[in-house]
């Protein structure tokens, strides 16, 4: 009897189990294993190399470049998109004309595929003709190749990321703001509390759980969102916009050095885990949950 229950349970679980193991758990474990082996090439089979792949990273200038770029990229996109999302949410929360239209406009980037959006941004950045060039032209400034210049390429793709994800985060802020009862504002108003003081002392602490959620998501995105790199810069020029995940893609699927790509992946996952958990524990103590 007990055996039969087990079989039925297993049968029900099988579809999810098989999918999860085949596409999530098995590849994850295999990646860690692969990172300690060499890549099989032609007649040379894969051999155990221990920490060699990891040691190679220390000598790899492009890897170092990608790490630094990714750190800059994260350091800008996380606070910028959180701040922009909050600003937009506060703006469209009040009773203003065309609120529905503005909310939709702010949310639109989320609905569009990043690949398509990146193509549009390519035109914005186009030297000579692009939107930014035209504005600069009006101001009498000399033309500039935003994504072709190693000094600006990283910031050009960073701006696209912020633009693309801030609208999505805004929705969470908007939802959080709407859970704050209006009577709190009224009570504060009677006490003589200014708008800024109310924001600082009441609104901000009350939406802290949302801020935590959004910043963890923004952190993950900072390592995960590379779609627009494919379209806009392919990591160039001279690796100026090379990000970690894009580098992993290049190593794994362009040069087919899967062992090295596996080692890079392990490093990236560890970084993400440390940052994510750290963020959670650091901020969690300051967050008031209702």
């Amino acid at each position: 009897m007990v055996r039969k229950d087990w079989l039925i349970a297993l049968a029900f679980l099988a579809p999810a189990l098989i999918l999860l193991f085949t596409f999530t758990h098995y590849p994850a474990v295999q990646t860690v294993i692969d990172s300690f082996w060499s890549t099989a090439r032609g007649r040379r089979p894969s051999v155990f190399v221990g920490w060699d792949n990891y040691a190679r990273m220390l000598q790899d200038d492009i890897f170092r470049r990608a790490m630094i770029n990714n750190a800059i990229y994260a350091a800008i996109t996380i606070p910028a998109s959180v701040a922009l999302a909050l600003a937009m949410a506060l703006f469209v929360q009040g009773r203003i004309l065309g609120r529905g239209f503005l909310r939709m406009a702010f949310f639109t980037p989320t609905v569009l595929p990043l690949i398509a959006v990146a193509n549009i941004w390519l035109f914005f950045y186009l030297p000579g003709f692009g939107l930014f060039e035209q504005v600069r032209g009006l101001a009498g400034l000399s033309p500039r190749n935003w994504i072709g210049d190693p000094d600006t390429a990283l910031y050009a793709v960073t701006a696209v990321t912020v633009w693309a994800q801030a609208g999505f985060f805004m929705i969470f802020y908007l939802a959080a703001l709407q859970t704050i009862p209006p009577s709190l504002r009224e009570a504060a108003e009677i006490e003589g509390c200014s708008r800024w003081t109310f924001f600082r002392r009441v609104t901000w602490p009350l939406i802290m759980p949302t801020t935590l959620f959004i910043s963890v998501n923004a952190t993950i995105n900072a390592f995960r969102t590379v779609d627009h790199i494919f379209v806009m810069t392919q990591g160039g020029p001279n690796n100026a916009s090379m990000l970690l995940l894009y580098y992993i893609y290049e190593q794994g699927f362009r040069f087919w050095d899967t062992a090295y790509a596996s080692a890079l992946t392990v490093v990236m996952v560890i970084i993400l885990a440390i940052v994510g958990i750290g963020q959670f524990f650091f901020l969690d103590r300051k967050v008031h949950y209702r």
Partner: protein
């Protein structure tokens, strides 16, 4: 009110002005919430705005607070108009129905919120906090968050926040409606005692006539955006100014019969409706005698409500709970001094009940307070 002079929280009596509203109208896009409201809420008194939901009483309170603005009319505190001032400039405190406590701040921070926003010096803040917390019985709870308090305790924190501001006018919007019945009765007397102790000018909104009758110095009865009557609780019960007030106050409210239902009554010209309280319908003594068919009996313990039919109209009789269950019919007496007359428009006409009860009772009550 000798207590008040001993309390340093209270500004001098001379500084306390009446709150007066004249011609106050509030129109929304699709409806008019208040129509031409004229009322004076005297300083140091407990005024209750009473009415059914949707009568405009909460809107009126929000206009006084400055959270909304009147379409027309003036609101003045003493000689000064305040209707153009922002809420913070009106020198009043408010307790909200939902308490509006800040969930992330502890009790002490909640109570002190206003003082810290207004940059009151730290030492004074602490001193006022200690006094108010011990007055409200919150001293043990200062470090708790609102979510860790019971409904009654949250209510006390909201009150403490109003009290610590030391503002002479306190507005309350149905503050007891979220409490259970027992706690409500306790808080009623607590709020009333607090108002008298601090000599506050209280404006209290409720739809519960028990709250209004037990707490108020003055009741402002409102209906459909208008003031129906302003009176002391006793006067309101004894001399309702309109059919609406007569039918709203009292549990059960006054019997209102069309004049044709009891043709034997000597009513003045123009009387369309005759009113009599269920407890004043007698079964003997002087007055108009009539027979009524019994329809149902509602037993409440101390007394029972008998529903009768007279001349096609419904008449309620309140009698002692110890009375025997009535049969199919009763013979009744309507004592003349208990009758109220109203005209076609629902306004009170001169009635035999105008003479009762004796006004001395009112005076006694004032001196006791």
């Amino acid at each position: 009110m000798k207590d008040s002079t001993a309390n340093p929280a209270v500004p001098s009596v001379a500084a306390r002005p009446d709150l007066s509203l004249s011609g106050v109208t509030k129109a929304f896009a699709t409806a008019t919430a208040l129509q031409d409201v004229d009322v004076t809420l005297p300083a140091g008194k407990f005024s209750v705005l009473l009415g059914p939901s949707g009568c405009g009483k909460s809107t009126l309170l929000r206009l006084i607070a400055g959270l909304d603005h009147p379409t027309a009319g003036t609101i003045a505190l003493g000689p000064d108009r305040i209707d153009h001032l922002p809420p913070k400039g009106r020198n009043l405190a408010m307790v909200f129905q939902s308490y509006a406590l800040f969930p992330h701040l502890d009790v002490a921070e909640n109570i002190l919120f206003g003082l810290s926003v207004r940059r009151v010096p730290k030492a004074e803040r602490q001193e006022r906090l200690e006094r108010v917390a011990s007055m409200m019985g919150l001293s043990e709870l200062l470090a708790r968050k609102p979510a860790e308090l019971s409904g009654g305790q949250q209510q006390r924190v909201a009150l403490a926040r109003a009290v610590i501001s030391q503002r002479p006018v306190c507005l309350m919007d149905e503050p007891l409606s979220n409490l259970d019945a027992k706690l409500r009765a306790e808080m009623r007397s607590e709020i009333r005692a607090l108002q008298q102790r601090l000599d506050l000018t209280m404006v209290y909104v409720t739809h519960d006539q028990v709250e209004a009758m037990t707490m108020a110095d003055h009741i402002v009865v409102m209906n459909a955006g208008r003031v129906e009557q302003v009176a002391t609780p006793r006067d309101l019960y004894a001399h309702p100014a309109s059919v609406f007030v007569a039918g709203f106050i009292g549990t059960p409210p006054m019997n209102l019969l069309p004049r044709a239902a009891i043709p034997g009554v000597a009513a003045p010209a123009g009387a369309a409706t005759i009113g009599i309280r269920p407890e004043e319908v007698a079964q003997g003594g002087d007055g108009l005698r009539l027979r009524a068919a019994v329809r149902s009996v509602e037993y409440l313990g101390a007394d029972q409500i008998v529903t009768l039919e007279v001349g096609g109209a419904r008449l309620l009789l309140r009698q002692s709970g110890q009375a025997l269950p009535p049969g199919d019919a009763l013979s009744l007496t309507l004592p003349e001094p208990a009758l109220h007359f109203f005209d076609d428009a629902g306004h009170r006409l001169p009635s035999p009940s105008d003479q009762s009860p004796q006004p001395q009772q009112e005076l006694q009550r004032e001196t006791r307070a």
